[in-house]
């Protein structure tokens, strides 16, 4: 997405659920295992981030829960779907890029799901006057905008309005929220069409 580059590989469904947890698992379903790695060259400054970083762990957990509910995991009991993400370049909308990359990778792997899980970011620029209604929502933020503005990441299932992921780490007034959310969901619909186009084109190339 812009200068944010994320590469995602999917392995699975493969045998075994996690480190041999005998019987205590939640029913006969596949387990989704997400691993995120930040490359040292991804940011402006070269920085090596460990995997146990809190922010990394939180992003991974978000992805795990959202994909666990999206994928048809009951088809593959007692197995693990491993999603491995490598962040190559960061320039804003990181979580959204990860979600979109993982969706495409899962489709490429042939893991069944009901619809695409797409995500994008939205922010609300500071109101030019004291009039609350004039806040301009912005779509798809880059790195500089993310640092300055309060923003949220929203993920929806397909082109519907069903929000599956919503992450916001900054503070805003609650009446701005609706505008941002609406813009975000619209953006997700566009994203879904984009991803679908890519998948179909790739599929056509394969057939030919």
């Amino acid at each position: 997405m812009g200068n944010t580059k994320v590469i995602c590989t999917v392995a699975g469904p493969s045998e075994g659920r996690g480190p041999n947890r005998g019987g205590a698992g939640a029913g006969n379903e596949a387990k989704v295992d997400v691993e995120i790695g930040f490359a040292g060259f991804s940011g402006v400054e070269r920085k090596r981030r460990g995997r146990a970083d809190k922010r990394t762990a939180e992003m991974a957990h978000t992805l795990t829960t959202s994909f666990s509910s999206l994928l048809l995991t009951h088809i593959y009991p007692h197995s693990t779907i491993s999603i491995s993400l490598h962040i190559l370049s960061q320039d804003g909308s990181l979580l959204a890029a990860c979600i979109n990359a993982a969706t495409l990778a899962l489709i490429d792997a042939g893991v069944p799901m009901t619809d695409y899980l797409v995500a994008c970011t939205a922010a609300s620029s500071p109101a030019t006057s004291s009039d609350e209604g004039s806040a301009d929502p912005l779509l798809d933020l880059n790195g500089l905008e993310e640092q300055e503005l309060p923003f949220l990441t929203v993920g929806t299932v397909g082109a519907s309005e069903k929000v599956s992921v919503l992450i916001m780490e900054t503070r805003i007034k609650v009446d701005r929220l609706e505008g941002m959310l609406a813009v975000g969901v619209e953006g997700c619909k566009q994203m879904r069409e984009l991803l679908d186009g890519v998948v179909r084109e790739y599929g056509k190339k394969k057939v030919i």
Binding site: T9, S84, H86
Partner: protein, 373 residues
């Protein structure tokens, strides 16, 4: 000797024996029909990362993929007593005109020896391996050694007496290592370094470094050869490491994982373009022997020793040893014992370094990637 910890290629002794015999023929018959010096198809892209000074991605035909990013940061130099007070010129300052032969040799002599090994840092990430496992550490050591061997790279990182560039090379192997990933990582590093650029220096001498904001004025870490000046024979390029195996009398390049499993000797040869117009266009930087994975393969049991097929199993250990000694002749696979003959090493080096040899081909091919991409 560097150990190999790749996912073991699961081949039965019969398959190993078959591979070994077909590779020992003259000329060798490789499983995919390549000639001994033919490399597999690969996909290479360079300059793919907008936020890194240099980057490259290479995918081999067997599905292994690697991405390398090069980042440079200015760091304060530790004060070293300098011998003599010559005027220090540096590449970044643009004092040296790149396409002038005289200037080239002048540059080399004035910044020679100013670089330090610690200015280049490499990190390798391989899925499934921790950072302190043997494989990433050995690979990192071999690649760093090749990079620093010629001394040119670290000399380029010199800015002035108080500051220098610290080069961070981050290697990401995207797929689990099927065969020994050394040549893949080395090729990707080579491409990333070729595409790496440093901002142009605007400050003078020993002041705090100030750089040109215009990225279009940036200077390549490894200056490209100037097509207008054909007399330039010495082109500085980063090194490349090739994996070579020997089976019987044959020397084979770019082994696939099955060929590695039956290799009798495995060598990693690092070479770079030579910077003097000597007879050989390629300089040898380092050779490393690698423990051949054939030692870890299961040995075959001939029918004569297998009680299930009518033979008799050896009763005592001396009996077993005596029978095993005779196995080699009967074509039953046994793990390779013994080392590498010196003559063999000599032949390998000659094949790599000679004019029109393998290394020259590889370096030329890699240079083309940069131009087109």
């Amino acid at each position: 000797m560097a150990p190999i910890q790749t996912a073991q290629v699961l081949l039965s002794p019969a398959e190993l024996s078959y591979l070994h015999s077909s590779l020992s023929l003259s000329p060798p018959i490789r499983p995919d029909g390549r000639t001994p010096t033919q490399f597999r198809l690969l996909v290479a892209e360079s300059d793919i990362l907008p936020s890194a000074n240099g980057s490259a991605r290479v995918c081999f035909a067997d599905g292994t993929e690697a991405i390398v990013g090069v980042k440079a940061e200015v760091e304060k130099s530790q004060w070293r007593p300098t011998a003599g007070e010559q005027r220090r010129l540096s590449v970044a300052a643009g004092d040296i005109v790149m396409d002038d032969d005289e200037g080239e040799s002048g540059d080399a002599s004035k910044t020679k020896g100013m670089g330090q090994d610690s200015w280049v840092e490499m990190s390798i990430e391989i899925p499934g391996f921790r950072d302190d496992d043997a494989l990433p550490i050995f690979l990192s050591a071999m690649l760093t050694e090749a990079l620093l061997a010629s001394g040119e790279l670290k000399d380029r990182l010199y800015i002035n007496r108080r500051f220098h560039w610290k080069l961070y090379i981050d290697i990401l192997l995207l797929s689990p290592p099927l065969s020994y990933p050394l040549p893949l990582l080395s090729l990707t590093t080579h491409l990333a370094l070729l595409s790496a650029r440093l901002p142009a220096l605007k400050s003078e001498q020993d002041e705090d470094p100030l750089f040109d904001d215009d990225w279009a004025a940036s200077i390549s870490l490894f200056p490209r050869s100037n097509p207008n000046n054909p007399s330039r024979t010495h082109i500085k390029k980063p090194p490349v490491t090739l994996l070579v195996i020997a089976v019987g009398q044959n020397i084979i390049f770019d082994p696939s994982k099955e060929e590695l499993a039956v290799a009798e000797a495995v060598l990693a040869v690092s070479c770079a373009a030579s910077h003097t117009s000597s007879a050989n266009p390629v300089r040898l930087l380092s050779i490393r022997t690698i423990d051949p994975p054939s030692r870890l393969t299961p040995p075959g049991i001939p029918n004569s020793m297998n009680s299930a097929t009518g033979g008799s199993a050896p009763v005592s250990s001396t009996d077993a040893m005596a029978q095993r000694e005779a196995l080699n002749l009967s074509g039953v696979w046994t793990p390779r014992r013994g080392g590498i003959k010196r003559g063999l090493v000599g032949r390998v080096l000659k094949m790599v370094v000679e004019k029109g040899g393998v290394a020259e081909e590889v370096l030329e091919a890699l240079e083309k990637v940069e131009v087109d991409g």
